[in-house]
């Protein structure tokens, strides 16, 4: 789902279990262009550490992790 306003790709992976949300994010990042922002929503606890670790390791930018009710939003900028 791409909202035209800010060219952000939002992936709702809530209800998906480890490593589902991470896999969704990787797929989203692959499809995105450099400089675009991909946001993944996850209710999986493993994502809290897995996603920031993957983002760091793969050389992208973690814009932020935002806690919501029962899930977290991971906002990632594709840097390469």
């Amino acid at each position: 789902m791409v909202s035209a306003a800010d060219q952000k790709i939002v992936l709702d992976a809530r209800g998906s279990f480890c490593p589902g949300p991470l896999m969704e994010l990787i797929r989203g990042i692959r499809q995105a262009k450099v400089g675009e922002v991909v946001e993944v929503w996850s209710s999986d606890q493993g994502s809290r550490t897995d996603i920031p670790f993957w983002v760091q390791k793969s050389g992208h930018g973690l814009v932020g992790v935002y806690e919501e009710a029962g899930y977290a939003r991971f906002v990632v900028k594709k840097l390469r």
Binding site: G15, L22, I26, D50
Partner: protein, 144 residues
């Protein structure tokens, strides 16, 4: 050494067990490894190979008998929470990175089977020597 400074390049797994509760960790570990940019090698042997006979991945519902009282509950929970099957997870991992699925030549011979009797997710038939030589290149080898 800080976590992430140096990543192992390969995860190898000997998949000996054919019960669903053990096939899940094989598929999940494979997914995690490809997510982290590692190559994955699976060596299917004995019951693990039986679980990859044509048609088996779709119908196998065997669980470890040591957890007979827990297994039905876990199966029910996985269904309720829409957890994808271990087989679908493995297929996705394969789409995402390098996951090689090898059938143990000895087990195939023993069962009188050929590669065409196996699910197409299986890449090839190898001997244990080849698998061990390949596994030697990586830092992690698991027996499931």
């Amino acid at each position: 050494m800080r976590r992430g400074d140096r990543m192992p390049n390969k995860l190898s797994m000997v998949v000996f067990s054919g019960t669903v509760d053990r096939l899940y960790p094989a598929a999940i570990m494979a997914s995690g490894a490809v997510a982290m940019g590692m190559d994955v090698e699976l060596f299917l042997t004995f019951y693990g190979l039986d679980a990859f006979r044509m048609g088996q991945p779709q119908k196998n519902q065997k669980m470890d008998v040591n957890y007979a009282e827990l297994a039905p509950m876990l199966v029910q929970l996985m269904k309720e929470k829409n957890v994808p099957s271990w087989y679908d997870m493995l297929l996705k991992a394969k789409e995402m990175g390098s996951v090689r699925v090898h059938a143990c030549a000895m087990t195939l011979d023993l069962m009188g089977m050929k590669k065409e009797h196996l699910d197409p997710i299986v890449d090839d038939v190898v001997g244990v020597g080849e698998f061990v030589s390949n596994a030697k290149e990586g830092e992690i080898t698991l027996f499931l």
